[in-house]
Symmetry: C2
Subunit: 456 residues, 2 copies
Amino acid sequence: MTNQEHLFSINIPDTKKSRIVIIGGGFGGVQLLKNLNSDYFQIVLLDRYNYHTFQPLLYQVATAGLEPDSIAGPLRKVINRKPDTHFRMLKVNRINPNTKTVKTSAGVLNYDYLVISTGAQINYFGNRNIAEHAFPLKQITHALDLRSHIFQQFEKAEIMTSEKEKKKLMTFVIVGAGPTGVEVCGSLAELKNKVLPKDYSGLDFSKMEIHLIEGLDRILPSMSEKSGKKAKKYLEKMGVHIVLNCMTDDYDGEVVKLDNGTTIHAGTLIWAAGVKGNLIDGFGKKSILKGKLVVDEINRVFKDQEQKQVYENLFAIGDVAHMLHPDYPKGLPGLAQAAIQQGRQLGKNLNRLHQAQTMKPFHYKNKGVLATIGRNKAVADFPGDLNFSGALGWFIWMVVHLLFLIGFRNKAVVFANWSWNYFTYDRGIRLILRPSTKENDAVSREMIEAMKETQE
Amino acid sequence: MTNQEHLFSINIPDTKKSRIVIIGGGFGGVQLLKNLNSDYFQIVLLDRYNYHTFQPLLYQVATAGLEPDSIAGPLRKVINRKPDTHFRMLKVNRINPNTKTVKTSAGVLNYDYLVISTGAQINYFGNRNIAEHAFPLKQITHALDLRSHIFQQFEKAEIMTSEKEKKKLMTFVIVGAGPTGVEVCGSLAELKNKVLPKDYSGLDFSKMEIHLIEGLDRILPSMSEKSGKKAKKYLEKMGVHIVLNCMTDDYDGEVVKLDNGTTIHAGTLIWAAGVKGNLIDGFGKKSILKGKLVVDEINRVFKDQEQKQVYENLFAIGDVAHMLHPDYPKGLPGLAQAAIQQGRQLGKNLNRLHQAQTMKPFHYKNKGVLATIGRNKAVADFPGDLNFSGALGWFIWMVVHLLFLIGFRNKAVVFANWSWNYFTYDRGIRLILRPSTKENDAVSREMIEAMKETQE
């Protein structure tokens, strides 16, 4: 790959302005970019993908409710509205804060300011078997793989002779009862109860099982106790088996081993049990806390967290950052809102910096937390102990998500799809388009390879 | 794979009715199924995919105009409306007309009547290099691969140092000027003229080249001369280089060799130059003509075409069939309409057969032929030398395609997308979701492997 460096160059026009390089076009990166004044700065956005993803709705793609284009938008469309703003689709391999350079798959780029907004990746906590056999749900490609896999399970079950194997194909285990786990469970339960029996008349859907495994003593631990209980009631009514206080020890593609001694024969395990910061090489222990880049209240990365020294021109926002903030001793919540607010704040701060004004510390404004379990079944927590559930919660959930989806077109298509799904209990997108393997997903492949190397 | 046979069984309930097995859920197969009376027959549909594809719009998926769910529908949705009708997703390996059985990847199934509606596959005319490096456009997966590939070319071009390489990445060669080739050309030209320059400000789009190579002396040979000329004018005005009377000899992924001695350096070759029947093993030369199953006017496959002997219970319809018909000495046109009409007719004929009535011979009703080149640019031929072009042609094209797309939901989504594209000159679906290789596509892989074996 070394002589590739002669073929490619990151190739950004020279500028007299300061150059801000943003790594990662997620919620934080895009919001930052929108708030930066391009009269002050040249802006360069780098990402491995050419689109940004509305991750809270990935589960809808995975369960045939929406197509990818509804929850993802081309990053170049965001870029092309701003002058002297550039996008390059490539992988960043290393950051060197001393030389103020990033090393990418297409060569080296120097920066005046660097913002790392690479988000989070799945955390398998070192369990290689699970990494190899479980389905993650963090990227569009994961969601498409999972969708194809789910429907392939039922197609296979129709032609399977052994009752035991048939049951295995129809058994789904979801690990982790955060919003992703709960929403996938609810959506699978709706497929089981309303959509699939019409399609697969040869299968007995009373035998389809959905298990939700959670290590803590409740579901939706990031939400109010009231909402957690309500969501649990909804899921159980829909037929989901919930196991609390239980860790998942192993999965070989066929048998899930739980730490309470029981096993579940399941053709599918969806891993929604944890994420970790998507770190890039170039930082030592002094900059890292709980697997994330530790930052101050202005999102500056600590050069040395003990000595309270920061890099003046190097920032991290969103899920890759752990902010030391007196109001949030456990760190900010891993929500889109937190990334969006940090991106917006940092954009304004950098504009202030350029004008020699003082940068302002970050304050998180809790705008509420939502999770949907199914049609007319959602839970919503708002500041001031305001909780909603049922049809009203669901309505709030839908409006909020429609408002957040970027771009008028997506909103119209999403609304058309959801209306259709609501009134017909149909899911149009039951197409099996991809081979059901992890081979398509370069990131998963890399991760598994790295684990193999570590274990050897 | 042999002990798989014990694990799987095709598993259709026993019946006292006659069993009709349909292989292939394309236009013909679906239409046949809809017209069969399930009081008379048990119906079994077999397909490798779990969806049917509106193939005339594949080029829109390939060029980021539509998402797959807009032009594909789950086959089980068609099935689940009819009693005693069954779908199995699997591959048919062999037909044995003597024992009245089909051998599939999940075991053997016997039939009383068999209908082969497996359609067509890409014909590379034995050119292994082209098969390996060109992009086909016959399946949804092809269209998604091509879409990712097209946008990857521009992302790469942005970071490419060599001007020569950059130009190669921005050069597209389309071989074959039938409707698919012409429509892809037009859609690429619109991307070049209206969409991409906004996205890739670092690239000089006057250097983007689109070449259309055709072996015959005109484009759209299946349409009227007037429409062919009009389409040629449109394409040339949009900047497409058209080369007529020219065969494509070779392509190694970088250089296209034409038989007029010239070469074109191109990162993409789209092969729309020919198709052949998607035959299944089990038939000898006596049943095959021009690479298709030869059938009589009732779509019965000939056991021996010279002796005019037919199989009484074995039919072929659509693109896999070559009908001996006095009105169509060259065979029926390879259009959706021909397959649809044959499927409908055969369905009614089989119902008649059950009632001991006489089956009626097939007559093709030409409902017109359409091709679209771009916004407000389409050509339409109707019976009685009625030709339309321009905005009116385009409007007719749009209405006809909307009416044909199966299912209300798809129509609404397609119309929303097209309206958006029309008014904004935007293409929302510019997401690079798949690695740009043919490795995802099992059919292409099989075909290339088979060619390697033949050549060795």
